[in-house]
């Protein structure tokens, strides 16, 4: 037998993935990390990644630390304890609407009430029966988001958390604050924690100040600006039939060629769709001063291999952006693979968008995208036409993933829908590994409890086989 083991193993080892498999995989993963929210956002890539890890770490932390309130997280004891009916803890959350949770010994909710008028209105019509404290907190925090008490644009807001009752109350505080942190990370809010007294926490949520970008080039001085430049899209990537840009190369007037990252540091232009890359590239060139009213010669955008449709889309997008930036430049299609930007006529109208381009970039990221001019809407629409298009302009909502492990199929599906996700139930077949206490209960969920995902995301719940 050992001989076979070796021969099959050896034969299998002769089968290798194609050249560069690991590098490509890593690049794909990085790309996805940057794109998690449905967009690539180069300038903030650093904290996007951090937020992702934060979610992961948070959940890890949650699992090990809060085992008592996460049925099943600690091991195979997947059946939630029945509520004992006796209030052991009273936890309060106040962000102006105030909510009070009565919790029994095993961490299950007995009742949830509003401590003021807004609080009562907030939880009106919500059903908390049979939920763990953590899941009830998630419902309340999601409602706070829906009702705009927690938004991306909040300047600074205090949330007061307190717990009274028996020993172990600090775990309830940790549960509440980790749920709030998880929600805050989705909106790029910073969270400052202050311990007020024993069993009392104050969380200060505030929008993050723009961080200085690492490795940014010193501002380009006027006299160093090249008079003309050439931008070349590399469309020869592995996904070549799809419109993915492998990299962008810039050639300055003196003939030196650079990959985009050397000149436009902090803009990752590779790996996006053609229009999206164009948006970033044009924006970056404008911001860095390469495309300005001082452009004496011309800028040439070469896109070998592009289709006529891609070419005219790019030309339209650049034209709109130049117009929106109020530059006296025009873009035109020079030949089948070239777009030329050169001095144009004075603008017919001085009208500009309600926002500057750099604000537009922030708007791409925010929830509310209503208040932009028609031209800017079109810019975003073209920029995202290959990444969901119009869909990108709709507001996005996020919710925190509850822990479903140990719930019955009906409870889990109902909770999943209440929180805003779509459950996809998989019933496990009966095997020797099946345990009677797992029958009909969720034994596996494919997403971390505590992570934040866009409302409407589908999650898989595996249900133990009936005995």
């Amino acid at each position: 037998m050992s001989k076979n083991q070796n021969t099959y193993q050896k034969a299998m080892e002769d089968l290798r993935p194609s050249e560069g498999f690991q590098e490509r995989s890593l690049a794909a993963v990085k790309h996805a990390a940057l794109k998690k929210k449905g967009t690539i956002y180069p300038r903030r890539s650093a904290y996007l990644g951090a937020a992702l890890i934060a979610c992961l770490v948070l959940a890890l932390f949650g699992l090990s630390r809060l085992g008592v309130f996460l049925p099943g997280a600690g091991g195979r004891e997947t059946t939630p304890a029945a509520p004992s009916g006796e209030t052991v803890f009273i936890a309060r959350l106040n962000i102006n609407p105030g909510v009070e949770f009565r919790v029994d010994e095993s961490g299950m909710i007995l009742s949830v009430t509003g401590t003021n008028e807004d609080g009562a209105a907030l939880i009106a019509g919500m059903d908390f029966t049979g939920l763990s404290f953590e899941n009830a907190t998630i419902l309340v925090v999601n409602r706070l988001i829906e009702e705009n008490y927690i938004t991306a644009s909040m300047v600074a807001e205090d949330i007061l958390l307190s717990v009274s009752g028996g020993a172990g109350g600090e775990d309830l505080l940790t549960v509440m604050s980790s749920v709030i942190r998880s929600a805050a990370s989705q909106y790029d809010l910073s969270v400052e924690t202050r311990e007020k007294e024993a069993n009392q926490l104050e969380l200060l949520l505030a929008s993050k100040p723009e961080e200085p970008q690492e490795g940014e080039l010193p501002a380009v001085k006027e006299e160093e600006l090249p008079l003309s430049l050439q931008v070349e899209y590399d469309l020869t990537g592995r996904n070549a039939p799809y419109s993915e840009v492998n990299d962008v190369r810039l050639t300055l007037e003196n003939g030196e060629t650079y990959p985009s990252y050397q000149i436009l540091t902090s803009y990752d232009l590779a790996g996006g769709s053609v229009n999206f890359t164009t948006f970033w590239c044009t924006y970056a060139l404008m911001e860095k001063g390469y495309l300005s009213n001082d452009l004496a010669g011309q800028a040439v955008i070469r896109m070998p291999g592009a289709t006529a449709e891609q070419l005219s889309g790019v030309e339209r997008l650049i034209s709109l952006m130049l117009e929106d930036g109020m530059l006296l430049l025009k873009a035109e299609i020079a030949d089948a693979e070239t777009i030329r930007i050169c001095r144009g006529e004075a603008l017919a109208s001085e009208e500009t968008g309600r926002y500057t381009l750099s604000q537009l970039v922030d708007i791409m990221y925010a929830k509310d995208r209503e208040d932009i001019s028609a031209r800017q809407k079109e810019i975003l629409k073209i920029a995202f036409s290959e990444n969901g298009g119009e869909d990108f302009l709709r507001p996005r909502y996020f919710a925190v993933v509850p822990n479903f492990i140990g719930m019955t199929e009906e409870e889990a599906a109902a909770l999943c829908e209440r929180v805003g996700f779509v459950p996809s139930v998989v019933r496990e077949p009966f095997t020797a590994e099946s345990k009677p206490e797992e029958a009909g209960r969720v034994i596996f969920q494919d997403c971390n409890p505590g992570g934040t995902w866009e409302v409407g995301t589908k999650f898989q719940l595996n249900i133990g086989a009936a005995h």
């Binding site: 099959y8 193993q9 089968l15 995989s25 992702l52």
Partner: protein, 163 residues
Amino acid sequence: MEVSSLSGLEEEMEGVIGKYGEQIFRLAFAYLKDRAGAEDVAQEVFLAYMEKAPGFLREEQKKSWLMRVTGNKCKNLLKSAWHQKTVFLEEELHDLPEHSAALLSAVLSLEEKYRIPIHLFYYGGYSLREIARLLRSNPATVGTWLARGRALLKSMMGDDWNE
């Protein structure tokens, strides 16, 4: 909870891809018999790992999660209409030494229920019990599949597959 940056995520993913990348690729190939498809599945598995993986505690759990997700993704793909039409092409194995190619195509010609246990047993080095857990089946059933698979291979390859 302080997290340094994107580079932390990168490091973790580099580790997973370096350590399990080829194993995932080969398991996916054993399911799909298609290299490009296997690479695509592997990438999907890495993405799923980054985005959805539960917080792992032990290396072993990590590995079995990855293998299980790989299996699920392959099965979904095999169910899809597109894949039902594709046929295994010998040229998938053109760059392998002759003996290896012959052995692999013999294994690949087996039905999925024999092929996957054989792969996990002989290549993955899993025990019957572990295979049963990965495939959500009974160790006894897996034992039967393995035995039948081996018998089939023997009848196909004669002495080249010697017990």
